[in-house]
Assembly symmetry: C2
Homo-oligomer: 420 residues x 2
Amino acid sequence: MTRRQVVIVGAGFGGLEVARELSDADVDVTVIDKRNHHTFQPLLYQVATAGLDSDDICHATRGIFHKQANARAMQATVVDVDFEAKQVHTEIGPPIPYDALVLALGAVTADFGVPGVAEHAFGLKSAAEAMQIRNHVLGNFERASRSTDPAERRAATTVVLVGGGPTGVEMAGGFAELFDRVLDRDFPELAAEPARVVLVEGQDRLLGAFGSTSGERAERRLRKMGVDVQTAAQVAAVTPHSVELGDGTLIETDTVVWAAGVQANPMAERLGLETTRGGRVVVDEHLRVPDRPDVFVIGDLAAANWTDDELVPQVAPGAIQAGARVAAVIADGVDAHDPFRYKDKGSMATIGRNAAVVEFPNGRSFGGFAGWVAWLGLHLVMLVGFRNRANVLVNWAWNYLTWDRGSRIIIDMDADTTEL
Amino acid sequence: MTRRQVVIVGAGFGGLEVARELSDADVDVTVIDKRNHHTFQPLLYQVATAGLDSDDICHATRGIFHKQANARAMQATVVDVDFEAKQVHTEIGPPIPYDALVLALGAVTADFGVPGVAEHAFGLKSAAEAMQIRNHVLGNFERASRSTDPAERRAATTVVLVGGGPTGVEMAGGFAELFDRVLDRDFPELAAEPARVVLVEGQDRLLGAFGSTSGERAERRLRKMGVDVQTAAQVAAVTPHSVELGDGTLIETDTVVWAAGVQANPMAERLGLETTRGGRVVVDEHLRVPDRPDVFVIGDLAAANWTDDELVPQVAPGAIQAGARVAAVIADGVDAHDPFRYKDKGSMATIGRNAAVVEFPNGRSFGGFAGWVAWLGLHLVMLVGFRNRANVLVNWAWNYLTWDRGSRIIIDMDADTTEL
C-alpha cells in the first residue's frame, strides 16, 4: 500500500464528515466505530418518546460508503493506540496502521458525582438507551394500570428529566404530548391520576446556551403543555423510586432521564492524551494533538478554542465544521490553511407540536409554528440517507395528523420468548 | 357490572378477530397479552433479514381498541385460570372475572427433542427473536471481516435454516438476497469467501403443505438464488458452531434458525386442559372446551377438526375464521350456529424479489412475479394499522428499487452504553 492511510475513530457527525470530505483525496479512509451504524443523536428523544423507530435514526455505516471508493467502515472497539508505531488496536483482528488518525469519539453522559445517577437514571446517547427508556415508561404505565396502590401508580406515571438544555426541553415536550394525547387514551384506567412530566434545571432558566427570550419562550410553552418546570433546582440524589432535590423536596418517580451534562469520551484519558475541562483533549489551532501532527481530535472530544474563554460548543455543527477542516488539512497539508475557527450558525430546539425556538448568531430569534417548520426541515435534510428521511416523514405525518405515536411498542429482547 | 364480561387471552390474529367481531355486541371485552403489541408474524422473517423495522410489524394493542368503546387491552402474563370461580389470574393486579373466556395463546417453537436446539438455535415467533437473529448475523459478518481464521470466517458467514415450510423458504430467500445484494457490498473483505444459506428439510420436498408443483417451484428458485437446499435431511444435533445432519454431515455455522415445527402454547397443559397432537386443546364442534361451555379455544392452540383425519391448519386464516365464529357464538348463543367448519382459501409463500408461490384450494397454483404481487398486496392489506402499512411500503419500495436493506442495524440493548 503506497497510499496514505487515514483512520477515523467514531462514526458520528464529525467522523463521517472527515471521511466524506476526503472522497476525492489520494488516501484510503477507514472509519471505525463500536456500533455498526451512525446514530442521528438529535432525534434520539423521539425514539424515547415513541415517535420514531430506532431504525429511522440509525444508518448502517458500511452502507454510507458504498459509493465512496476510497473509504470503508468497520465495527470494532478500539482498545489502544500505539502512537509511536502508528497503529490502532481493536478488540479483535490485527492492528490497523495509520498515517493520519482522527479521533472523533464524542461525549458520554456525565453524572457529576450525584449519587444514584449511574445506577438508576437513564442516559440518552444511543438508540439502545432510547429504546430502554421507551420500554421502561410504557411498561410502568401497564403496571400502574393494574396497581391498587396510589403511591405506586404515581411513581410509575411520573417522568423526571434532569437538565434544561435542548435535550431536556425536547424530551419534556415529547413526553407531555405522548402522555396527554396517546397514553391518555391508551390507559383510561389511569384517568383519575394524570401522568406527570417534571423538568429540573439547575440554572434559573431553561436553554442556558440560548438567549433569555428563547429560554422564556420554551418555559412558557412547556408550562402550557402541563410540564412541571423547576428551575434553580439541584438534584441531590436519585433512588429507584424517587429524586431528591437540593432543598429536600422528594419527587416520587420510577423514571429519571439524566440530560444534565456530558463529558468527553474517557477513552481519551485512557490513551494518555492531555485533557482539560470536561475531559476534552487539548488541541492546537489545527485540531492536532500537541507534538503529534498526525493525530487530530474533533467534535465533542476536542477542546478547540472558540473565543478567548470559550471552547467550541459540543454540538453537531461544531463537529461537522472541524471534520471538514481536518479533511482539508490531511489532503492539502497544514500550511495551506488558516487556524480553525468555529462559525456559529445559530441554535434550535423543538418544544413539541408546532413549536420550536430558533436563534441566530446575531441574537435574533423566533419561535412558534415558523420555528417548528424550520426545525422539521433542517432535521429532515440532515438525516443521513433517503430511506430514513422517507420513514421519518411518514411517522411524523402520522403523528401530526392523528396525534398518535405508532412506536409505543415494548420489545424486551432478553425476556421475550415465545412461551406465554 | 351487569354486562357480560368476555376475556380474550392472546392478541394474535384470532384473539383480535374475536374482539373486533364483538364490537356491536352487548358485552365488555378485555384482551390480555403478555406483550403490549400485536405481532404480524408472517413478516417476522423480514425483520430477521433486515428488510423491515420491528416497529413496522408491531402494533400497540391498546391503540387498536381506541375506537372500540366496549373493548380494552392490557399487558399481563396469565399465571392461572380458576374455571370454577371464572377468574383469570395474572402476575400482578386483581384477578379478572369472565363470563366467557377465549384462549388464543398461539404456538411456540418445538424442538422435537433434538439436542442443542433449545440452547443454540433461534426461534422466529416474536419481534425480539427476529431482532436477535438480525443482530447476531450482522455481528458475525463484522467478526468474520476481521478474522484471519478461514474456519471461523466460514462458520460466521453461514446461516442454516431448519424446516422447509413457508417460514424456512421465505427466510432462505430473504437471507440469500441480503447476502448477495447488500452484505456483499458492505463487506468487500469477504469477497473471496461467499456467504452461504443452507435450507434443511426432513421431507423429500419443500412446502409440504402445498402441492408438489409449488414445492418444486420454490426449490428451483432458491437454488437459482444460490441457496443450498438439502431435502430428506434430518438434523441430529446443533452445537454453537455447527449443525450435524442425520447422515453424519457436519455444517460449520454460528447461526441456526429453527423453523422446523411448532407446538401449541404449553400454558394449555399447565391450565389442566385436555390436549392432543402437538399439545393442542381438545374442543367440540363449536370450539368449546368439553364440559366448559363458557371457555373457547381458537387458532394454533385449538385441535379443531377439519377433515376426518386432519386438524385445522395452524395458519392465520384458521385463527381468524375461528375467532369470527366464536364471537358470533358468544353474541347470539350456540344454538344459532352450525358447527364450525374451516374454509381453506389457499396458501402463499414468497421466495424473494419478484417471486412467490400461490396455491388455491382446488389445487391450481401460480408463481413468479404475479405471485409476488399477490403476496405483497395481501400482506399490506392484512397489516393492522395505516401507519405500519405506509412504513412497510416505504421500506419495500426502497428495498425493491435499490436492492438495499435499511434496517441492517445492530442494536445491543444491554451492552450498548455510551462509552466507547
